[in-house]
């Protein structure tokens, strides 16, 4: 299923994956606020939590759900003819902002049973949304590579406060390039950009040979407020600089014709995944 445009030509949704090579640096916060920002602009958005074992999307939004990607996978296997992905989504809604969520499995056992091809099909079925935002974990796993392959853009997040984190950011970027992901598809996003640290953003850009696409300022208290209230930053901390920065990031991803002529051109997805999937992860 895809969107019928006014000219009658079907088009698929924009898939934005949120990826990093260091855990615990704010991927889930970014994914949630990106989804909320896009929804606020009036787009139909689905946020898929594919940090399968320890996903935090529901935690951070204070939601519970029996619908999960594990249930979707089971249904797709058992009754492929009757399968519809919308039966496995839940909805986040507050004031004028609504978006759908495909939650991560509730149990590690289910997460472990996840099949890359089936999840790829499930994500593909979300194409009736304008935007699909995917929250990944911090590894080059078979699943993550499959998701990066089908993504329109890769929102590649780094926090440059710790030498190992910088090393992993650089290695991850080099690896993405070696895996033949187009440079224009990889968007370098620095999180906690203005926190006190030993390493300068400029030096990182020199190291990577690529400027940051977007820098999110550090605002720990607001993020805390957001997690504790279960609301995206636009509601939990409307006046925060971080909230503003997220609005700008969402705008950059929607206002495509103006700011990013590249993004309209269909990207070639990396082809590395197929060759190595039997080796990486499960």
């Amino acid at each position: 299923m895809a969107i019928a445009t006014s000219t009658g030509i079907e088009r698929s949704s924009v898939i934005i994956s949120v990826f990093s090579t260091t855990p615990g640096i704010g991927k889930t916060i970014i994914a949630i606020n990106l989804a909320a920002g896009l929804a606020k602009e009036g787009y139909r958005v689905c946020l898929a939590d594919l940090d399968l074992q320890f996903g935090d999307v529901l935690n951070y939004l204070k939601l519970t759900s029996v619908n999960t990607v594990a249930g979707a996978q089971r249904a797709l296997l058992d009754h492929p003819d009757k399968f519809h992905v919308r039966d496995f989504l839940i909805s986040y809604s507050h004031e004028d902002v609504t978006f759908a969520i495909l939650p991560a499995p509730l149990y590690i056992y289910d997460a472990y049973q996840t099949d890359v091809d089936l999840v790829t099909k499930i994500i593909g079925d979300l194409s009736y949304f304008d935007y699909v935002v995917i929250d990944l974990n911090s590894m080059f796993s078979a699943l993550n590579l499959a998701m990066l392959d089908i993504s329109t853009v890769i929102n590649y997040v780094g926090v440059i406060d710790f030498l190992p984190a910088l090393k992993n950011y650089k290695i991850g970027y080099d690896t993405l390039i070696r895996f033949d992901y187009a440079e224009s598809k990889i968007r370098l996003v620095e999180n906690r950009a203005d926190s006190q640290k030993l390493i300068e953003g400029r030096d990182v850009e020199r190291l990577l040979g690529e400027p940051f696409y977007h820098r999110l300022p550090n605002d720990y208290p607001s993020v805390n407020k957001s997690i504790n209230s279960g609301q995206p930053l636009m509601f939990a901390a409307p006046d925060s600089r971080l909230t503003k920065s997220f609005a700008e990031l969402a705008a950059r991803y929607t206002n495509r014709a103006q700011e990013e002529p590249d993004a309209e051109i269909p990207m070639e997805s990396g082809g590395f995944f197929n060759g190595i999937k039997k080796f990486f992860g499960f």
């Binding site: 935090d56 991850g172 992860g281």
Partner: protein, 368 residues
């Protein structure tokens, strides 16, 4: 002084070969040879031997190792195998053997094996300690590194750190080293290795602390089969008295397989948003469902603040399990790891170091 040597081997041809090798060297004096284990146990005492070669591919002889230890305390007991078998090697060590050796061997080989097994530490099975974290960024690597340094310092025994976080291992950067050989090389070569030829794969960090590094590129991780990693870890047990493994985050074939053979697993979680305790709970439930009665799983929480018993109880209530180790925050440690100075001296006067030192004491005590 030549070793007064006894060979216990049921294959006459192999026995001849071994004896002729030993006789050609001045380092060995062959006191007696036996084809049957009960003869060896009953009669060898006449010669006051201090070195035994025992064919441990023979089940009866393998089972007799504790009896040899009992009757000949202080003698070196080398279990002989034609093919390295990690499970047989482990059983020999558990029985009290000094170590194992691939046969046939030269006199020089024997010297090298004995050298490795002597510096290893007590002739006891290795302690295999794994650091697991649900999501990562838990302080797991820092903790593993400091624990290795402290155990080596406290015991004078050899400690291995194996960086099994194959895609994004941080141990080389913590110690500011760039070892030539990595865990990937070790897993590829393992079928051809012996403890003697494997030992140089480890990079010396400090007195008695050695690192088997992670590879420099994440895609090299694809070259590692979980079974091969298990064999690498098990062979390390023969060279090191303590083997500490830093695992990749989450449940995956690597972390599950290494945890399966570990005697101690530390589930490491950093307190941040609070939901980490839920992740630790899910993790503990997974380990509970696979409990084998032998392995001990401990919960470790880092950056606990406030660092109080009330807080411990609070976490334990949410977790549904006891909090075994609490580690306070210490910003100085981050900057030390950041600059690769971890091996050059630890700030022992801090609460952080005191808690990890207690942890090391408990690990050491559990192995005695």
């Amino acid at each position: 002084m030549a070793y007064k040597t006894v060979v216990v081997e049921d294959d006459p041809q192999m026995l001849d070969e071994i004896v002729s090798v030993l006789r050609r060297s001045t380092d060995f004096e062959v006191s007696s040879t036996y084809k049957r284990v009960n003869n060896a146990l009953g009669q060898a005492g006449m010669f006051h031997p201090n070195l035994f070669f025992i064919d441990i591919e023979n089940e009866e002889m393998l089972n007799a190792i504790p009896a040899f230890v009992d009757i000949f305390p202080g003698a070196f007991l080398l279990g002989m195998m034609e093919q390295w078998d990690p499970l047989i090697a482990r059983r020999a060590m558990e029985g009290g053997a000094t170590g194992c050796i691939i046969k046939p061997f030269t006199a020089k080989d024997v010297g090298e094996y004995l050298q490795i097994y002597t510096v290893r530490g007590q002739h006891k099975p290795a302690r295999l300690i794994s650091f697991f974290s649900p999501k990562g960024r838990a302080g797991r690597t820092t903790l593993a590194a400091i624990l290795a340094l402290l155990i080596a310092e406290k015991t004078g025994e050899r400690v291995a750190l194996i960086d099994a976080d194959l895609q994004f291992g941080d141990l080389p950067i913590f110690f500011d080293v760039e070892p030539k050989r990595t865990v990937v090389d070790a897993t590829q070569d393992i079928k051809l290795l012996t403890p003697v030829s494997f030992a140089p794969y480890f990079y010396k960090i400090k007195e008695n602390v050695f690192l088997l590094s992670s590879p420099e590129r994440p895609e090299y991780a694809e070259l590692v089969a979980p079974e091969a990693l298990v064999e690498v870890v098990m062979m390390a047990e023969n060279i090191f008295r303590y083997v500490i493994v830093d695992l990749p985050a989450g449940f995956n074939p690597m972390s599950l397989n290494v945890c399966r053979i570990s005697d101690t697993v530390f589930i490491t979680t950093m307190i941040n948003s609070g939901f980490e305790v839920n992740h630790a709970k899910k993790t503990m439930e997974m380990f509970d469902s696979q409990a084998d009665g032998r392995r001990r799983v401990h919960t470790v929480f880092t950056r606990v603040n406030p660092f109080t018993e009330e807080q411990r109880q609070k976490i334990a209530d949410q977790l549904g399990y006891p909090v075994d180790v609490m580690i306070p925050n210490e910003y100085r440690m981050i900057s030390m790891a950041n600059s690769g100075r971890l091996a050059s001296g630890l700030p022992m006067d801090t609460l952080l170091m005191k808690t990890i030192s207690d942890m090391a004491d408990k690990v050491i005590a559990a192995g005695r």
